[in-house]
Each structure stands twice: as C-alpha cells, then as structure tokens.
C-alpha cells in the first residue's frame, strides 16, 4: 500500500519534471518529523494504531496541498523507531532521533509511561513534541514547555459523568448537590487520576461522596462494595480498574441486581462487557476519547464519520472493526503540527512552539486548544451508553447521536 503510493508519487514527480510548465507547482519538499513508537512489545497493538493514524494524516495533508510555509510547500515525512514498549529504549531513541537524525519536531509515542520517558529528552533539546497517546495528569505538572497533547487527560475520563448526573438532577427538579456519588477505583496512578477528577467535579457541585473505595490490583470480587451500594443507594456509581474492573463490575452489577440511576466505567471495550455479559451491560456509561458518530468536522478530514470511512479505505485491515480512537487522535496530532507550521510561517522550532501554544482549532477529533501546561482543554471526554448492546454517544450532549437512558434499571 505504502510502496504503491510512493511509486505513484515518484511517477507523478517524473512526469511533472519532464513537462516544462509543471515544475513549480505540485512538488513539495520534505519536512522531517521523528517518533519512537511501540511496534513490538506489550503496547504494539496500540502503537501500530497510532502509527497508522500518523501515516493516514500525512497522506491526507499531502493530498490537500501539503503544509504551506511562506510561499513553499512541504510534505511530512516521519522517521519511526521501535521502542519495544520500554521506557528506557524510548528515551534512547529520542536522543538518537534528535542528535543523529537531526529531527527538529517529534510526534509522541504510545502510552503515558513512554511519553513520560521521552518528554524530559525533548524538553532538554527544546524539541516541540505533539503527542496523542499519553493522558496521565503527571505529564502536565512538570512544567514542560515543549510538550503538547491533543487528547483529554485521565482525570477527565469520568468527570463528564458527574456533569451529566448534575444535569439529570436539575432536569428532575432536584439540586445537583443532592446527588450522592459512589467511587470504586483501583489503587494505581491512572485510576487515581480518574478518582481525583470525579471528586473535584463532585465537590464543585457540592455533591456528597458516600462511598470511596480502592480496588485491589488482583480484583475478582467486589460484592462487598456493591452491597454497600445497595444499602446506601447512590445516584452515580463510578468504577475504574482497567479491564478487570470493568469485567468484575458488570458481572456483579448484573448478579446482585444493582439499581443505580447512572453507572460509569472505563475500559468497557477492552473488557468486552457487551460480548461477555450481554444485557447486564445495558445502560452503563463508558468513557472514550473519540467516537466516529460525533458531529465534529474540519476541512482536511471532513466529519468524524468521513474520517472513519476514508481511513478504512486506506487501511483495509480495519475493515471489519471500528477505527480505534488511538488512531484518530494520532491523526489529529499531525494536523495540529500542520496548523502550527502554517501559522508560524517558518521552520524555526521556537517559532513553531510559540505557534503551538496559540493553537485554537476545530478538528474531526474535537476542539484543540492547549493549556499552558500543554494538555488540550477544548475537547471534552465522550461518554457512550451501552444501549441494546451498542455503544451510542450520549455526552457531550451538543455532539451526541443518542438520548441518555436515565434512570438505568
């Protein structure tokens, strides 16, 4: 596939160079980016999703006239190295990209851990890095100045469920502060980020957190918590503990017949809760960074649905599944670079960094505007509700495709 397009570009270039008039337009120079990304190891699946996202965006930008800087045009070209899903390897490869390959701009790796390993290197050499796959809050409190992330940070994953619960309370003539929240999260950095986000937002509404428990790493039974849920009747139940948390929660919520008006989880897809537990998963809310049914739109990729369609045409191996959000956000990261280069009007990396800080754009992936810390504050997390075994977007309500089923029963 890639070879073919390269060939056609070559053929096109040749034919153009032989025709006397066609030389000036249509031929763009190369603009080098670098990325250390997981092509093998435990993150390989998602690393390859991200790489495909990068490549697809580069191709689309190429088709749309490339990156216009001043009166010249450029096409992105990325040098990839395989970090083997290991942090130390990622940092070494970042050094190599910068020192040996003289890369001036970086695209991020996959996962918060790898981003955390690479960010100090890019920071040291003042190399702007736009990353799409590291959500941990700890990436954005280190004062990094060259790190930009297009995705929502992990504390936002379920915070929108709190907003939604407040909306529902108001709709039913009750004050949001009457909402009782139950939280059960695993004792690891990612899940604790989620807990922090939920409790902050709950505090803003004056909600009462009546259950606040930690799940063990080797969770297989949470009936003790669910019994408390039965007794104390919260209005919102938040569970996050990777795929085991989602699987255990859905299984036992079904078994114990837990009736909470709103239940929100992470990792529903990874745990395949609809496939494994069927009806027990109905009306549960699951967070995601992006969904193809959202009504976001931009001039390069078109709508989210359009992105999905064209991506599948370009990468036929995705034909029978939905395009993962990891791919969409990777494409968005490349788009952000294009936008910043064009606004900077130069290849100077400091100017590009400054342009990145002023990014304010709408994309098929959602709005993108960076906080001073580098995280994207314009895109809310998306909540999908499992309705009859399908994931339907219900929040943010302005871009949702379906109505929220509330209360859950």
């Amino acid at each position: 596939m890639k070879k073919l397009s390269l060939l056609s570009v070559l053929v096109a270039a040749f034919s153009l160079s032989f025709s006397p008039a066609g030389f000036a337009d249509g031929h763009c120079e190369e603009l080098h980016l670098g990325s250390a990304i997981s092509l093998t190891g435990k993150y390989a699946t998602n690393g390859i999703h991200a790489k495909n996202g990068y490549e697809f965006a580069i191709q689309k930008i190429d088709e749309n006239g490339g990156v216009k800087i001043g009166d010249k045009c450029y096409n992105f070209k990325v040098t990839y190295y395989d970090d083997e899903s290991k942090g130390d390897r990622g940092a070494t490869l970042a050094e190599r990209l910068i020192n040996q390959d003289k890369v001036q701009y970086m695209l991020g790796p996959y996962s918060s851990g790898l981003t955390k390993a690479i960010a100090p290197v890019t920071e040291k050499y003042r190399i702007p890095m736009v990353e799409a796959e590291g959500a941990s809050r700890s990436l954005f409190n280190k004062g990094y100045k060259y790190l930009f992330a297009v995705l929502s940070t992990s504390e936002q994953y379920l915070a929108s469920a709190v907003t939604l619960a407040a909306e529902m309370a108001e709709k039913n003539g009750k004050s949001p502060s009457s909402v009782k929240v139950a939280i059960a999260v695993e004792n690891d950095p990612f899940s604790l980020d989620i807990r922090a986000g939920v409790s902050e937002d709950a505090a803003k509404y004056g909600m009462n957190i009546i259950i606040d428990e930690k799940l063990p790493r080797d969770l297989s039974d949470m009936s003790a918590i669910l019994t408390k849920v039965k007794l104390l009747k919260p209005d919102l139940l938040i569970v996050s503990g990777h795929s085991k948390g989602a699987a255990t929660a859905v299984r036992q919520i079904g078994e114990q017949n837990i009736k909470v008006p709103m239940i929100a989880l992470t990792h529903c897809e990874a745990a395949d809760v609809t496939g494994k537990f069927g009806d027990a998963a109905n009306d549960i809310l699951c967070s995601t960074q992006w969904a193809e049914t959202l009504s976001y739109e931009d001039p390069i990729f078109g709508t989210a649905a359009n992105y999905e369609q064209e991506f599948k045409a370009a990468f036929p191996e995705y034909k029978n599944k939905s395009v993962p959000y990891q791919t969409a956000q990777a494409s968005a990261a490349v788009y952000v670079f294009k936008d910043a280069f064009e606004r900077a009007g130069t290849l100077d990396k400091e100017a590009v960094r400054d342009a990145l800080t002023k990014t304010d754009m709408m994309t098929f992936y959602g709005g993108i505007r960076f906080a001073p810390e580098g995280n994207n504050i314009a895109k809310p997390m998306v909540l999908r509700q499992i309705q009859d075994g399908k994931y339907n977007v219900v929040a943010p309500s302005a871009f949702a495709s379906h109505q929220l089923n509330w209360p859950r029963n």
Binding site: L215, D218, L231, S243, T248
Partner: protein, 303 residues
C-alpha cells in the same frame, strides 16, 4: 476511620447484611478449600510446598474458558479441566518436582516459585492479559428484599466443589491408590519396604493436586473473573488455610477455608476490599503466633 465506623454501623443497621456476607464468604471459601486441600495433600505426602498452587487454579480456569470459546458447553469445562490439569500436573512432576523432593525446603520453594512465574507468563502469552470469565447465563435468586443474592451459577459451582471434595475423600479412604498415598505420607521408607512404588505415588499425588486445582479454577472462571497473574492470591490463601488447619486434617481444611472466606468478606466490608487480601495474611500471622505459644506451653520445638 469514619468510613470504617460507618461500615460497622451498616452491619447493625441492616442485620440481614451479615447473613449475606456469611453466605458469600462460604461460597467463596468452598473454592479456597479445594485448592488448599490439594496443597495439604502434596505437602503431607511429599513435603513439597507448592508455590505454583494458584497458577494451577488459573490454568484450570483458562482450560475451561478456552473450551467454552471453542463452543463446548461451559459446565463441561470442570471435568475437562480436571483431566487436562492432571496431565499437566504429571508433566510438571516429571520435569521439576521429582528432582526436588529429596532436597531441602528452599530448593522446592524456589523450584515451584519458578514454575509459578513460568506458568503465569505462558498463560499471558497464550491467552493475553485481559480478564476473562465464562457467563453461564443463569438467573440469580434474591432473598430478603433483594439484599441477599445467590447466583445460580455460584450454587452450581459450590455443588460441584462439594461433589469433588467428597469424591476425593472417598477415593483416599477406599481405593488402593488412596491407601498407598496415605501409607507413603505416614512413612515413605516403610511404604517402600512394603512394596509401594513411592515414585508412582508421588507422581499420582501431584497430578491429583493439579487436577483438583484445575477443577477449582474451572468453577472460579464461571463465578468470578481470571487473569494470568491472579495465581499468587490463590496460592497465598491456600497456604493460610493449610497452615491454620494443619496437615492431614481434612475437616479442618474445609472449616478453615469457609472461615477465611467469610472473614475476608467481613474484612472487605469493614476496611474496604483493598484490604481483603491483607485480612488473610493477618490471619496467617495470628495463627502462627497462637501455634507458637501453644508449642511453648508443651515445651516442644516448632519444626
């Protein structure tokens, strides 16, 4: 602290919850008891403390899960895991255990610990690190305004555990092999003198243990979830139960299993389920302390 007090308050405010916790605990404890019984068997007969006990449980779970994925009925997983794990246990015995039986305690601990790590990694490579479970699709019985829930799948699981335990007990009592195992446990040298092939007895005992664990795992995958690295928690519980009950004390093992199941549930309710495991380990410490004091009073040495 406030949370702990209010959790204890709930137990008094809704007394029926105590009943639920005890029922849950007993159902879970029955499965703990199975793996613990296997451990006691191996420990008693060949003096090997098998740290891979929990990984045999998880492996059995994966056997059952895999069969279900291939379209076999889920309940078939339990006998199938019993048979397949017996085979794997026999291989493990011939490859590893037979070489460490005569060695000291640490050699066998290290060898079985290594086996535990190997098994967990192999399962991770074969089946991936996602949690898996088998949904039988049965209903749940609700008592006391729905506060007590008894999934029928769990009842079936407990029933199968009981049948298996009874079968093993009868086998040990009445069969020729069972007698040979007991004789070897009492005095291996004397058994050898009397014509018992102790090597065969050892191999049989170890694969019987693996089979029991495998069946327990196949039940666990029907009522909970499994993951390649969950073995250690089952190993820890089996050790706690056997230490508490003592070797060769089958009713003790069952009682301790049920008791620990119930206490863990209480601990989970009062301190939060993050501490559920800690309860089991605290109990182990307590039991050891009491044992030590008892031994002191009898002026005996702890062996």
């Amino acid at each position: 602290m406030d949370q702990i007090l209010s959790n204890i308050g709930l137990l008094f405010q809704f007394p029926i919850v105590n009943l639920k916790i005890i029922i849950d605990g007993i159902m879970i404890g029955a499965l703990f008891a199975l793996a613990a019984y296997g451990l006691a068997l191996v420990w008693g007969v060949m003096n090997v403390k098998n740290l891979a006990q929990g990984d045999f449980v998880i492996a059995g779970g994966y056997v059952a899960w895999w069969l279900t994925q291939q379209g076999f009925p889920p309940l078939l997983g339990v006998p199938a895991a019993f048979v397949i794990m017996a085979g794997i246990g026999w291989v493990a015995y011939k490859l590893v255990i037979t070489r460490v039986i005569e060695r000291d305690l640490f050699t066998s601990l290290l060898a079985t610990f290594g086996m535990a790590i190997m098994m967990a990694q192999i399962m991770n490579l074969l089946f991936g690190s996602d949690t898996q479970s088998v949904d039988l699709g049965y209903d749940t019985l609700y008592l006391a305004d729905g506060l007590i829930d008894i999934p029928i799948a769990k009842l079936i699981g407990v029933g199968m555990a009981t049948v298996l335990a009874a079968g093993v007990i009868l086998f040990m009592k009445n069969s020729r092999m069972g007698q040979a195992i007991r004789a070897t446990a009492q005095d291996a040298r004397a058994a050898r003198v009397l014509g018992i092939d102790t090597e065969k007895v050892y191999a049989f005992t170890f694969s019987l243990n693996a089979a029991i664990c495998g069946a327990a795992g196949a039940i666990i995958v029907m009522v909970w979830v499994i993951q390649p690295f969950y073995g250690i928690t089952h190993s820890v519980r089996a050790f706690v139960i056997v230490t508490a009950a003592g070797l060769g004390n089958l009713p003790g093992v069952i009682a301790a299993g049920l008791g620990i199941g119930a206490l863990e549930q209480y601990g989970g309710h009062i301190f939060g389920i993050g501490y559920q495991q800690a309860i089991a380990v605290m109990l182990l410490l307590l039991v050891l302390l009491i044992r030590l004091l008892q031994q002191l009073r009898h002026r005996q040495v702890l062996k």
